[in-house]
Symmetry: C2
Subunit: 242 residues, 2 copies
DNA sequence: CGCTGGTTTGAAGGTCGTCAAGAAGGGTGG
DNA sequence: CCACCCTTCTTGACGACCTTCAAACCAGCG
């Protein structure tokens, strides 16, 4: 395998789980030929839509969400560079959630058939793709527990810990400082709070010198305290590899 | 295809999504040979455990959950007769949640290899199993939106609507009356509330003659009002097939 | 310079959690 | 058959957390 074979973001990601064959790496590379630019705010997937696509984010941020009949919005998951979004909907043949862009991005759009034939023909690629889809689902599960059983402060702390870990994996600036284009409105819809309460919660974290969010940059001043606030067993983010 | 070919609970379920071949039905039947009895309270899957199994519930109720460092519990999903539990963990090769039994059950235990070889060898069975796994994930997503963006009353109403629909699909007594072995403690952990507040919420539903829970039996007296309370667009549960 | 999108703050009130304790079953053993 | 568990349900009082409403502030940009 040449170094160049890994030279696409998704292959690098999937390789952390299973070693892919030369042929499989090539297939992944071809799927990511000619990504295109898409703009902030664009709706890529609408809940209920038939024949949904899968998206590979090369750069930028996206988010999956649901809009309730009463008009409120719940953000289900964030998609970062290297993420594969929309696998669940493809398997369902119908979008169970909407997906939009938080920033300008470069993305690839994959048809259902692309995914299905990868899954059908290449054993290790199948394992890798199902792993990736399951990992996303596991993050939703974690998110559910976070919202269901933690108060605003713990919840927010936990959210940023998870985000910091994800940013680290894709090579953010450092472990404790990274870009984050989430407005307090977006944070509120992700955390199941109001933006006003998010503001107060962030103020508290700032005043306690634990974490600041300014100009779209998150800085963690005190990782230990942040973990304590999130009431983790402290080791959860040390060792976990999923 | 003989009628007998459908004579296993999982085949009947999966067939609602894709028509399976004779051979595939046979494979599914073999997976469900010799189910065994397991008792209420038994832990079948522990979060973090390697080499997790998949379970097919023939009868009874199970539930997936997470326990947080602070000791509280969030129930992620319920498993009813005919459900396939633990697919996500199998794809991850590590349990991302725990799974226990709410009632005595009869179940089958499937090894990872069983699942993986079904997915590898049989195209339509693959589509069906991935659909089933995605459907479970979609229910978690719905659950997340429910907890994140609805208050206790709306949330509880929505929960019972979903449950009623699932019970109907597997042939509960009627559309508006079904058995439900969930204590208020369990409901609380599912809904992200305290059992005391669940009690107050159920009282309200009872006093408004919308729904009663007694002796493990749920009776919906006024389906229209229940939908209104859950703030659905009213049609969501009429047509949706997912 | 005014507009727009986002942040910040205050005040007031409702939802929901906490604490405490009583009531209603269902099972077990005397 | 009754006494005594246990678990589950039920209720009240109180306060904290979070939302709602209202408004000021700030930065970037046409």
């Amino acid at each position: 395998m040449t170094a160049a074979a890994f030279d696409n973001i998704l292959a690098r990601r999937l390789n952390t789980f299973v070693a892919l064959s030369r042929k499989e790496l090539k297939v992944l590379g071809e799927l990511q030929k000619n990504p295109f630019r898409a703009q902030r705010g664009q709706l890529l997937l609408q809940e209920g839509q038939p024949d949904p696509k899968v998206f590979i984010l090369q750069t930028g941020w996206g988010y999956g969400y649901k809009v309730l009949p009463n008009g409120s919005r719940q953000i289900i998951s964030l998609a970062l560079a290297g993420d594969l979004a929309g696998m669940r909907s493809v398997f369902l043949r119908k979008a169970d959630h909407s997906f939009s862009l938080l920033t300008d991005t470069t993305i690839n759009v994959l048809e259902r058939e692309h995914i299905m034939s990868c899954v059908a023909e290449f054993p290790r690629l199948r394992a890798a793709l199902l792993w990736a889809a399951s990992r996303d689902a596991a993050m939703v599960v974690e998110h559910l527990a976070n919202i269901g059983r933690r108060n605003a402060l713990e919840r927010t702390a936990h959210f940023f810990l998870e985000l910091a870990e994800r940013m680290r994996l894709i090579g953010g600036r450092t472990r404790t400082k990274f870009e984050c284009p989430l407005s307090q409105f977006v944070l509120a819809d992700a955390l199941g709070l109001t933006s006003i309460h998010v503001n107060r919660t962030l103020r508290q974290l700032r005043e306690r010198k634990i974490l600041t969010v300014r100009n779209g940059i998150v800085t963690i001043h005190d990782l230990g305290s942040l973990r304590k606030v999130a009431r983790l067993g402290a080791e959860t983010f040390e060792s976990s590899e999923i």
